[in-house]
């Protein structure tokens, strides 16, 4: 984090740009709201039951739970890859379940998602993987260039822009996928087990980046089963188990939990 002042200024400019009054949604107290959400996968008989969750603007939230407890599914409900069978999922007041086609696309442009499996395109360099988000939203090339380097520097990949994903370490791939998630200056960042495959040092580095983004006003939701991370994170924790969600404070998480 030696470049902290620089990073901060970059993110601030990005954020200032995103706070335009022309934003289609009004300023909302809650970034994410789930009300009475039920979701069943018939093939696997997996179910999420009656999920209630309010995430404030600018909050940093952990979602924990054992593997297979539905953490990824919960995030997918928020970015609209899965749809709730019952109940409502709202992002900045907007009902995600009711969005189709281009309106869903427009919602997704306002969030950043760090996927559990990164979803980096293996034939493309880091720079291409990141700038592709902006290009596919129709942003002019020079504007894309202008945003690319600062974003890569923010995640510590300033000198890896022209590497292919296979030439990166696990931690670098993870950070590349974070760069892709934030290059569009989202107000909400969803990170699915962003430290799941990383060693301790890399995990702390990633946590540092996410914390920094949060300090700059971005709402961050992280799924994880890394208790050490939660301890270090100093944030609210929601725990998924047996298809139900229980919201705890960080103090309530004890290291002996499964």
């Amino acid at each position: 984090m030696t470049q902290a002042p620089l990073r901060q200024s970059v993110i601030e400019t990005i954020l200032q740009e995103s706070q335009t009054p022309t934003s289609p949604t009004k300023e909302h107290a809650y970034s994410v709201q789930l009300r009475g959400v039920n979701k069943v996968f018939l093939q696997t008989q997996f179910r999420l039951q009656n999920i209630h969750l309010n995430v404030r603007q600018g909050e940093f939230l952990f979602i924990t739970g054992p593997s297979g407890s539905g953490k990824s599914t919960l995030l997918k409900l928020i970015y609209g890859e899965e749809r709730a069978d019952q109940g409502e999922v709202r992002v900045e007041g907007q009902n995600v379940g009711g969005l189709r086609g281009n309106r869903l696309s427009m919602l997704r442009r306002r969030l950043g998602v760090v996927f559990q499996d990164y979803k980096l395109i293996s034939r493309w360099t880091v720079a291409e993987n990141v700038s592709f988000v902006l290009r596919s939203q129709g942003i002019p090339r020079d504007e894309v260039e202008r945003r690319l380097q600062p974003t890569l520097r923010l995640v510590g990949l300033g000198n890896k822009a022209n590497c292919l994903p296979c030439q990166l370490s696990g931690g670098e791939q993870q950070r590349a996928s974070i760069a892709r998630a934030i290059v569009g200056s989202p107000r909400l960042l969803l990170a699915d087990e962003p430290t799941g495959n990383l060693d301790h040092d890399n995990a702390m580095q990633v946590l540092g980046i996410l914390k920094k983004l949060n300090e700059l006003g971005i709402t961050v939701m992280i799924t994880t089963h890394d208790l050490y991370l939660i301890e270090r994170g100093q944030a609210r924790v929601a725990h998924l188990n047996q298809g139900r969600l229980e919201v705890l404070s960080s103090e309530q998480v004890t290291p002996c939990e499964p």
């Binding site: 740009e17 995103s18 335009t20 022309t22 934003s23 289609p24 970015y79 890859e81 086609g101 281009n102 696309s105 427009m106 919602l107 997704r108 442009r109 306002r110 998602v113 996927f115 979803k119 395109i121 592709f132 988000v133 290009r135 596919s136 939203q137 129709g138 942003i139 002019p140 090339r141 504007e143 892709r180 569009g184």
Partner: protein, 311 residues
């Protein structure tokens, strides 16, 4: 929202960004296609070349028909006892007949002699004893197609001795043209389906090869149009490329044929003249080919992405 947020220097810049992006993505798709591109383009080329040939031939044949006189003329020779005007009245009633004229044998005789270049008409007539010709009715048919039937019914009219029409060759040509156009219609339809199928397969393969990119694009908020338009443009490129090639081949073959014919004796040179398209047709041909090609390309690519983009 993103479009509002970025520093816009007029919507022209935005439009240019979009055109540039779409062009680049289309090119990328073409690069990905590899040899499949050539399969798609050459199928379209074969289709449009054959289509163009048959269209051009039908134009040329009707041009030839016109050149040689489109009003087919039937001559009725009357028996000597017949009254020309009575027969003229009967023949005029036939539905396929446009008009009937009498050529009295005296007039026909003089015309014939004039054609033969005989200056001394009376001398020749005396030598033969009398005018050897009979009265003749010249019938013009309403259409070329009606002629054969007309000829056989005119032969049965009382007072008519014999019927002849000099344009039988033209008639055969018209028949042949009609038959050909039926065959080429069938071939062109079949090839159209083939070309669409090849384009659909090509584009679907490329879509499948790029499904990872497409999935991520969807997840980061690219619109369906933005994702799938390059594939449609790629189909269009196949169609236009095939059409352009077909047109080049058509012009080349036409010029080659003309080149061959102009070195032949006179009769064939007339034919070479008939092979020439009228200026309007020469312009229309590439337009028709390009339109047909783009339709084929677009329908092929629409079929390819429909299944994916409707999700």
């Amino acid at each position: 929202m993103r479009t509002v947020r970025m520093p816009l220097r007029g919507s022209a810049k935005l439009a240019w960004t979009q055109v540039e992006y779409l062009g680049q993505e289309t090119l990328r798709g073409l690069q990905r296609g590899g040899w499949m591109n050539w399969a798609a383009i050459s199928t379209v080329t074969v289709l449009l070349f054959l289509f163009g040939i048959s269209l051009q031939t039908s134009w040329q044949v009707s041009g030839l028909l016109q050149q040689m006189g489109s009003n087919v003329q039937i001559s009725l020779y009357l028996i000597p006892e017949a009254d020309g005007e009575v027969v003229q009245g009967t023949v005029g009633q036939f539905p396929g007949v446009a008009n009937v004229e009498i050529v009295p044998k005296e007039q026909a005789w003089q015309g014939l002699l004039a054609d033969l270049g005989a200056a001394d008409i009376e001398g020749v007539t005396e030598g033969l004893g009398e005018n050897p010709l009979v009265d003749e009715l010249v019938v013009r048919a309403r259409s070329v197609g009606a002629v054969p039937q007309l000829v056989s019914s005119l032969a049965r009219v009382p007072g008519v001795d014999s019927v002849s029409y000099l344009d039988e060759a033209l008639q055969h040509l018209a028949d042949l043209n009609q038959g050909l156009s039926r065959v080429s219609w069938a071939v062109v339809s079949l090839l159209t389906l083939t070309a669409i199928a090849v384009i659909t397969t090509t584009i679907r393969l490329i879509v499948i090869a790029r499904h990872q990119e497409i999935e991520v694009m969807q997840l980061v908020g690219a619109t369906h149009t933005w994702i799938y338009l390059p594939f449609l443009l790629q189909g269009l490129a196949f169609g236009l490329g095939g059409a352009a090639l077909a047109w080049v081949f058509l012009v080349a073959t036409r010029q080659f044929a003309q080149h061959l014919l102009t070195r032949q004796p006179n009769f064939l040179q007339t034919l070479a003249h008939g092979l020439q398209l009228q200026p309007g047709q020469a312009l229309l041909l590439p337009i028709i080919l390009l339109t047909f090609g783009s339709l084929v390309g677009l329908s092929g690519s629409l079929l390819a992405v429909r299944r994916f983009s409707l999700r």
